[in-house]
Amino acid sequence: MTRAQQLAVLSLVVTQLALVSIGCATRGNEADFPAPIATSGVGPFRAARVVETGFTEPPAGRVMESTWAVERAQLTDIGLFFAAGIPLEDAPDRDPALAADVTDWSRYGPRQIYQTAARDQDLGFDLEAATPVLEATEPWEEGAVSDPWFDVDSGRLYYAAGGSIGMVEAGEGGAFGPHQQVLAVPEAGLRSPTVVRDPVGDGVLLYVQTRAGVAVARSEDGVAFTFDRNLSLDLPTEAVDPDATEERWSGPGALVATSPTGRTTVRLYFSVLRSDGTRVIGMAASEDGLRFERSPTPAFIGDLPRSPCPFLESFNGVDVTRIYSTAEFARSDFAFRAVTAHISPLDVMYAEEEEEPAE
């Protein structure tokens, strides 16, 4: 072996020695903890941030101006549907007999259903761009329509009116009609319809709020529904807080999701009124859509949230659930509820916070 070859070999050895001796085991780039995974939809959900929505005013997660009296809002692929009443210019004084958290609808114009497109730049919506898509025309609607639920697959818009559930279908030019009463149980005071396809059958399931809680009705065609049963959504015993027992479930919103392993479930979100006056959004899941397993933890607590409407999308390869609900932010003025968005998994960000400039 020539001297040059030997030197080359020794250089290789010395280089390896240098690699070993210097700079080893000192901190460089490193990965953070593994990201949380949440495919079951139980949450926890976080309120959308200001940088994601463009709205700085409370309540946390607000996605739209709230000068109107907003009831329920549902995000769909074709925009946000919501029910609202516009404040009257010569509104009467608030009825003092009403509870503090109840809207005095005599101070507003008739409730209608509106639609507004999502903004391009963030998760917010422009109230001024909202257009009415449905108003009460039928006697059984008793002058007001509310609680919209648009089923993208069928193009049908379900809604609550006069204690019944109605439905209109999208026609030419996007207009909805005719008004059909699809479920009426006069003594039940039906509200908040939410329609999903039956996970084990061919028909559809309709979840509604009744005076007794949350119930389910079934239909083969999505037009004629028959009442099936009241749902049992009790908390597991070990999760019951004796200081804040659950008094009422209301405002259901549902979706059908397929997990990464291919298992299909119905996920039901609803508002829970507790004995201490607080409200949370609860969650339950079912494989057949009829018998539900209740999550022991709330999806989120928020500011007295109601009427959750879930929206499932794939964002950067991750299944993300957004829940649109209404939350209270004041009780002294006309409008005291605003539409908010909550997001799960927690680490999914639709916009990043800008770093503060260095001093």
């Binding site: 080893c24 085991a25 000192t26 949370v280 933890t297 709330p298």
Partner: protein
């Protein structure tokens, strides 16, 4: 070497290894720079910069490795008991013990590299601990220098014999490897008032260079050896961030910062003289830059106050070692004595100025805020002794070295009384230490 004696040597090493593993789990050891590194150096007044040539050289002076022509493995143990008094009361402090495994290995290159490169490693580990640190509030009396972190010490060295270039000249380079600790603790309460925590701890290596040179000169009055070594500052930093979220009480981000282990920059010069092959005297002078010590503890959040400056000063330490060697047939014997004067870097315990988060004096409503600093330390007189026996065979040597040390910790009167006391604190004490090392060379 007969197979009988070979087996005896192997048996001894095996038993020594067994003793290593069976060491009691009772913990606590002093760092090697208090008791020394290796049984020979510890017996010779903590000298070695001019003469150490086995694993001890990886700490003392890696240039010394270059004189080795044999491969060797060493195993040893050391232990020490501290008897300290503060205001005539016994001050409890844990005894120490630790083990060393070391080796030296001449690299058998040929040609121009023949007998040039020698590798060495020394691995000291306190019994059952890797890094022990007690960082306590400054007003609590503490022996901040003696009770420094008990820490693993890993030394790697390469000796380079330059005898072919300059007769008698050797250089060495090495690293002292110590761990820094970093970590985080994120605590959160979820919606169900359930506690969720993420904890992470990381050990990061710190590589601190040691560079040394040795030079031999034979004269008519004997052989002189000079050694000079520079050791970089060695510190083990602790950094732990604690973030608590979801509690009804907002807490700041808590930063647990501390210097758990600290050895200052050191320049050490040593001269050795062997008038005859049977006798050696080594005289050492070491400079240690203690003034750079930042204190053991940092601030606890971004805007929290800093504890008082420890105000340590640089030290100069003289050390002396005497060794007498004799041999009879295949047995070599050595007797060793030594003395070291370990000057304290610490000022007396005192009332000191508190500092704000930027390090400036903390003044509130025109009044400088103060805090007692009760770091206890004083000059140490270290008397050492020991011996060694080595059995020489045809192709292997087997050696056993022992040492014993007595440290006299000078009495010191401080400038501040103990908490609730009226008389200024007075401390003094002793350390009694001993150990052994067994070596097989072939």
């Amino acid at each position: 070497m007969t197979s009988r004696t070979s087996l005896s040597a192997l048996l001894f090493v095996s038993l020594a290894l067994l003793a290593e593993l069976a060491a009691p789990v009772r913990v606590h050891a002093s760092p090697p720079d208090v008791l020394g590194y290796g049984a020979r150096s510890s017996a010779l007044g903590l000298t070695g910069v001019s003469w150490a040539n086995d694993y001890e050289a990886t700490f003392a002076n890696p240039a010394g490795l270059a004189t080795q022509r044999r491969t060797g493995v060493s195993i040893g143990m050391q232990a020490g008991a501290l008897q300290l008094t503060l205001d005539d009361q016994a001050f409890p402090i844990d005894p120490t013990s630790g083990q060393v495994i070391g080796f030296h290995l001449p690299l058998p290159f040929g040609g121009p590299l023949k007998d040039v490169l020698v590798l060495g490693t020394g691995f000291y580990t306190p019994s059952n601990t890797v890094l022990r640190n007690d960082i306590i509030f400054t007003e609590i009396p503490q022996f901040a220098v003696l009770a420094r972190a008990q820490s693993v010490a890993l030394h790697l060295g390469l000796g380079i014999n330059l005898d072919k270039v300059v007769p008698g000249l050797r250089v060495g380079v090495g690293f002292s490897v110590l761990a820094n600790t970093a970590g985080r603790l994120d605590v959160e309460l979820d919606e169900g008032s359930r506690f969720v925590s993420l904890t992470e701890t990381q050990l990061l290596a710190g590589f601190n260079p040691i560079i040394g040179v040795q030079y031999d000169r034979d004269t008519s009055v004997g052989k002189f050896t000079f050694g000079l070594v520079w050791r970089d500052e060695v510190r083990s930093d602790v950094g732990l961030n604690i973030q608590v979220e979801g509690l009804p009480i907002p807490l700041p981000i808590i930063t647990i910062n501390a210097v758990a282990q600290y050895d200052p920059h050191a320049f050490v010069f040593e001269a050795g003289w062997s008038p005859t092959p049977n006798f050696m005297v080594a005289l050492q002078l070491g400079y240690e830059r203690w003034s750079r010590w930042p204190g053991v503890v940092g601030k606890s959040s971004e805007f929290s106050n800093l504890p008082p400056d420890p105000e340590f000063r640089d030290t100069i330490t003289p050390r002396l070692g005497l060794e007498y060697r004799t041999s009879a047939r295949r047995t070599k014997l050595a007797l060793r004595l030594g003395y070291s004067y370990e000057m304290t870097p610490a000022p007396p315990a005192r009332i000191a100025d508190l500092r704000d988060s930027e390090g400036a004096p903390l003044v509130i409503r025109g009044v400088q805020q103060t805090r007692a600093v009760r770091y206890l330390d004083s000059d140490r007189h270290v008397f050492t002794g020991g011996g060694g026996v080595e059995f020489v065979f045809d192709n292997a040597n087997f050696g056993l070295d022992l040492f014993i040390q007595l440290h006299r910790i000078a009495e010191r009167t401080h400038d501040v009384p103990a908490e609730g006391g009226t008389e200024n604190m007075v401390h003094s004490g002793y350390i009694l230490a001993g150990g052994w090392a067994a070596t097989v060379e072939w």
